[in-house]
């Protein structure tokens, strides 16, 4: 073990000296030498995991911020390497050479499918599960397999903090032997009563298999549901988010007013999840409020650029996660001015070579059928598939522009639209766009 910890630290040091990303490589070596290395570690009193299909990174960062801003000694995988190798790097780098974890709290953002590798024998003290939605099916299969992967790694000794608005998570109450704390968000001005698509997961009661009824939906299958046939329901969660005001960026959790870092619903979910977790481990209300409202987490560097009279905002394309993609579209639509949108990708995934485009049909592109949308530019190898989906969302074909030439994309977009621009394209294309934006900005100066 000493050898592995030493090697881990040495490689991390080497990566630092050579300015390489050293969040995965050290753990890869250590993990490959002996896979049960993490079982030998003497863990601190609090070992907290955060997992789920979306929002786990934001939630982890927020928890870390609340703890740090109040002087707690916490270590977390802040660069988001959430697989077994990244986790191994984080843990071993923060151990003494004898394998004792040196800090009071270990906080980990965890890939749903890697939980069982990281915690084979030792179990987490707390686990936050944000939601389970359709996400990377080529890797994950279906949502029930993700649920199984998470719960197979647990034995009841871990206290769960779960999103009660997701019936697919609340079914844990039927079978999980350990303690469960719940959080949820009440109706907002964006909630709706009737589902807008037929692609609702968890449409049936996990207990008696009768159709679930909803008081309201936030999005997808997330909302307030109940079974008319048995007791299964969302009910009143332990932590209730009320009066969500995305314009003012505030929400009330139980009776406490908190600030939201962004004007988007998933930020409210991350905030209430962080609130619920920190409360559960005994952080006082005053301390949490200090971390959320006073010592506010510095926002991530913005991805908005100005070229001539236009603002260009670069958003990440949430390929293969229809509900995350939906929320990004919703964010764009909710910006109360006229704009154009750029959509597309060359490869569906950065993680694997499969190009499964089924998810395009699960995304509610119908949202873009909005008078505040000027043009929709489709780029990348699957631009015709995206454009075809838009046609079936009843979007006026005159609004759809296909761009072949990626090397001149910014100029084309600037010429074709008078309005501000949102791009939601894959990582590689965002990099190309950024370059073109930089060149355009330098050219202006």
């Amino acid at each position: 073990m000493m050898f592995q910890i030493f090697v881990n630290k040495l490689i991390s040091f080497g990566c630092k000296v050579m300015h390489k990303n050293g969040t995965v490589l050290p753990g890869t070596f250590s993990y490959n030498i002996r896979q049960n290395i993490l079982e030998k570690i003497k863990y601190p009193k609090y070992v907290i995991g955060v997992t789920g299909s979306s929002g786990k990174g934001t939630t982890t960062n927020l928890i870390a911020h609340i703890l740090k801003s109040n002087g707690y000694d916490v270590v977390y995988n802040e660069f988001g390497s959430n697989g077994i190798r990244g986790i191994t790097t984080t843990i071993l780098n923060n151990c003494t050479i004898f394998g004792r974890f040196k800090h009071d709290i270990l906080l980990l953002e965890l890939d749903e499918k890697h939980l069982h590798l990281a915690f084979r024998k030792n179990k987490m003290t707390h686990l936050v599960i944000t939601n389970i939605t359709r996400d990377q099916p080529a890797r994950n299969g279906s949502i029930d397999l993700v649920y199984k992967a998470i719960f197979d790694a647990l034995d009841g000794s871990t206290k769960l903090i779960i999103n009660a608005d997701d019936p697919g998570l609340m079914k844990a109450q039927l079978s999980y032997p350990g303690e469960i704390v719940t959080y949820g968000i009440e109706k907002t001005i964006d909630s709706y009563i009737k589902p807008t698509t037929n692609n609702i997961d968890n449409a049936y009661c996990p207990n008696c298999h009768k159709k679930l009824h909803y008081n309201f939906y936030h999005y997808g299958h997330i909302g307030s549901y109940f079974c008319k046939n048995c007791d299964f329901k969302r009910g009143t969660p332990n932590f209730v988010g009320k009066n969500v005001d995305l314009k003012k960026q505030t929400m009330k959790i139980n009776t406490i007013l908190v600030k939201l870092n962004k004007d988007i619903l998933y930020e409210a979910y991350s905030t209430i999840a962080a609130f619920a977790l920190t409360s559960t481990i005994g952080i006082t209300k005053e301390e949490i409020v200090h971390g959320l409202n006073e010592d506010i987490m510095p926002p991530k560097r913005g991805n908005t650029y100005q070229i001539k009279n236009k603002k260009i905002t670069l958003l990440e394309s949430k390929n293969e996660n229809a509900l995350s993609y939906y929320q990004s579209l919703k964010y764009i639509i909710d910006q109360n001015f006229k704009k154009s949108v750029v959509l597309g990708f060359d490869n569906v995934s950065r993680r694997y070579k499969f190009n499964d485009i089924s998810w395009l049909w699960d995304v509610e592109f119908e949202l873009l059928n909005n008078s505040n949308i000027d043009k929709i530019f489709c780029i990348g190898r699957f631009k015709y598939d995206v454009a075809n989906r838009l046609i079936y969302a009843n979007i006026d074909p005159k609004k759809i522009v296909l761009i072949e030439e990626i090397s001149d994309i910014l100029n084309i977009i600037m010429k074709e639209t008078k309005y501000n621009i949102f791009t939601m394209v894959c990582f590689d294309m965002t990099t190309i766009l950024k370059q073109q934006i930089m060149e355009a900005q330098n050219g202006n100066n």
Partner: protein
């Protein structure tokens, strides 16, 4: 105006992978033939009258959904058999195909009785078959493209196949044949938006429907479907 009636079966249970796209595209192309299209979304606890419809669609689901749909379908076993014999259309994608066989054999060896409409057995496997697929359909010059993401295989298949495997997986990972084609029953392990991605196959189905209804087929064009197909063939399929 002639009317065609479509039933999307277990739309809220068997819908794992964007399969709603199949119906949207089918409806659109049928409407372009000047047909009036009536679509009903049907599921558990609905009374399904198979004689009322001309076209049935069922997509894939997870293990639990599969079991729920299977249990419900038993009520209609004879109706379904009769409908297939009457040449009604069935489009069946993903693991929904397993519903129609004799037995579905679980990993633990348990044999689950299925509808026994098609002479075949399906078996759960302990790995997933995931990947892009290229198939040949005997009635079409253009290949069929699509995706599979499944954990079952077919054995003892004594019904005609739908596709010949050019690149990908058939009944078993190495089989040359995939899918089932008997009368107007079209079943395949391909999942998700098969019709949006295969305009030639959509056209074939629409032509067959028009023939069955004794109506002339009008050649139509699409805006992006054929382009998307051609791009994929150009970029991804090695001839």
């Amino acid at each position: 105006m002639e009317t065609i009636r479509i039933a999307h079966l277990y739309y809220d249970l068997m819908n794992l992978y964007g399969e709603n796209g199949n119906l949207r595209v089918l409806i659109h192309h049928l409407e372009k033939q000047n047909l009036k299209v009536i679509t009903h979304f049907l599921t558990l606890d609905d009374e399904i009258d198979f004689q009322k419809y001309d076209f049935f669609y069922i997509g894939c689901g997870n293990e639990e959904s599969f079991q729920l749909a299977l249990k419900d379908l038993f009520k209609y076993k004879n109706e379904i058999k009769k409908s297939i014999q009457q040449n009604k259309f069935f489009l069946v994608t993903g693991n929904a195909l397993n519903l129609f066989g004799k037995y579905y054999i679980k990993l633990n060896g348990k044999e689950i009785e299925c509808l026994d409409i098609l002479d075949l057995d399906s078996e759960e496997i302990d790995f997933r078959i995931v990947g892009e697929q290229v198939f040949k359909f005997s009635s079409l010059k253009n290949v069929i493209i699509g995706f599979q993401n499944r954990n079952s295989v077919l054995h003892n298949v004594n019904v005609p196949h739908l596709f010949e495997v050019k690149n990908g997986s058939g009944y078993l990972p190495k089989s040359n044949f995939e899918g089932i084609h008997t009368n107007h029953f079209y079943g395949t392990y391909l999942l998700g938006p098969i019709l949006p991605r295969n305009p030639h196959f959509t056209e074939y189905l629409v032509k067959e429907i028009m023939t069955m209804m004794n109506l002339p087929y009008k050649k139509t064009t699409d805006k992006f479907e054929t382009k998307a197909y051609q791009e994929y063939i150009k970029n991804m399929v090695k001839e």
